[in-house]
């Protein structure tokens, strides 16, 4: 039986999420490419808590049903996220597609998820039994495999408020508009008083999940630029070993070369 629901509150949405036959639907830009006549949708665009962008002491909290356009236009949105969202598709897709859908679709090519990965954002997952906060890196378990129970809903994405200003972002696509990433890269080098407070990188469209090698990036944390220069070759060779592209529409060698070239450029523009 096909019955869809449009909850008006988070409580109602969470209660309905207990019905395993309902598919959460925000923008529809992925789901409707291969529409399923038998699908019963849980339309989430009228849940206020999932449509707002607010801040608290630590985080900017993005409702998972916010569209790319809403994210781009909001004054709280950090530039790194704004820039990445502006490179997604074209206006009509950005008016419908949501960040929650981009994350929960589980694609390693997801352009906004790349930014949430490099920012070490957290995901607020709610169910009738309670809620939990999961680092986005831990949310991706493998190819299209998510740490999301069938009764859980991705409600908000929590992005750290500070330390995201010095960023580097490149999306390599075959054209400007409506392009699927061939390789995407985001880097953050948060430097204070000549010391690297936090180095973070993320690589999209390379492996089963977005690559986030935080343990290697941490080699540079707490270092001065000249100390980082000394560590550069060890850092790059650790990255070189760890980044292993899977087979895709675009060649493995090409994608690997682009990853390493972008990583080197990211270091160079930061004087490393």
């Amino acid at each position: 039986m096909v019955t869809s629901f449009t909850p008006r509150s988070l409580d109602e949405a969470i209660r309905l999420r207990q019905k395993p036959e309902l598919t959460p639907y925000t923008g529809g830009t992925d789901l409707m490419v291969n529409p399923n006549e038998d699908a019963s949708y849980l339309f989430l665009h009228r849940v206020p808590e999932m449509k707002r962008i607010v801040e608290d002491g630590e985080y900017i909290r993005f409702g998972a049903a916010c569209t790319y356009t809403e994210v781009i236009k909001h004054p709280l949105t950090p530039n790194i996220l704004k820039e990445a969202c502006l490179k997604i598709a074209a206006p009509a897709i950005r008016n419908a597609g949501s960040i929650g859908g981009n994350i929960a679709n589980g694609s390693p090519k997801a352009d906004s998820a790349l930014i949430f990965m490099v920012a070490d954002a957290k995901l607020r997952l709610c169910s009738a039994g309670g809620e939990r906060l999961v680092p986005i890196k831990d949310f991706y378990l493998g190819r299209k495999k998510l740490d999301l129970r069938p009764d859980e809903l991705l409600v908000e994405v929590l992005m750290p408020r500070h330390g995201l200003d010095n960023y580097y972002h490149v999306k390599v696509g075959a054209r400007n508009a409506l392009a699927i990433s061939r390789v995407s890269f985001a880097g953050i080098m948060d430097i204070e008083d000549g010391k690297i407070r936090r180095c973070a990188t993320a690589f999209g469209a390379v492996s089963d999940v977005i690559i986030r090698l935080d343990q290697i990036d941490q080699m540079l944390d707490g270092k001065t630029i000249s100390e980082a220069k000394e560590l550069k070759s060890a850092y790059l060779s650790a990255m070189d070993e760890a980044i292993v592209p899977i087979r895709g529409r675009v060649g493995i060698e090409y994608r690997k070369d682009v990853c390493m070239n972008l990583l080197r450029d990211f270091l160079e523009v930061n004087g490393i």
């Binding site: 529809g28 409707m32 206006p91 409506l178």
Partner: protein
């Protein structure tokens, strides 16, 4: 099982009784016979099926009917009754921006949305505004010129 979905279509309150998983594009063309909205790719790549939902440009091929409860939908058929359309129509004609015509309903919807949000766009902003609308005759320069002309000639309409 069918559900009743209430929305406003081109200014008239409408009830769609059907499967909430149906695509808006299919309903417009096949059931309501509003065939001005074109079907090009059915995957959000071409923009031929663009409509305006609650003031926003949207690809109707990627919209499930159930998501429209309470929404305002404007198709090219509704758009043609507006003074803004008259200005766009004249401008497109004045620079011969229409070749085969297949992309044009979507282009008009994109032009209308762009100008409603930004009445005096730069050339780059026009190109961005129609970046999701493909013209396989590749007549982009004339279309960009037409939107610029409409903005000038229709000054005050948007």
């Amino acid at each position: 099982m069918t559900q009743e979905i209430r929305f406003n279509l081109n200014g008239s309150d409408t009830v769609y009784t059907g499967n909430p998983a149906d695509r808006l594009l299919d309903v417009l063309r096949n059931e309501l016979r509003l065939t001005g909205t074109k079907c090009g790719c059915k995957e959000g790549e071409c923009g031929a099926c663009s409509v305006i939902i609650d003031g926003k440009l949207i690809n109707s091929c990627l919209v499930a009917m159930g998501s429209l409860e309470g929404a305002k939908v404007l198709t090219i058929e509704g758009c043609t009754k507006t003074p803004q359309f008259a200005a766009l129509d004249k401008a497109y004609e004045s620079v011969s921006a229409v070749q085969c015509g297949f992309c044009i309903p979507g282009m008009i919807m994109a032009s209308q949305c762009l100008l409603a949000n930004n009445p005096h766009p730069s050339e780059a902003e026009i190109r961005e505004g129609i970046s999701g609308n493909l013209c396989r005759c590749t007549g982009y320069n004339a279309i960009v010129k037409a939107v610029g002309t409409a903005a000038e000639e229709g000054n005050g309409l948007w």
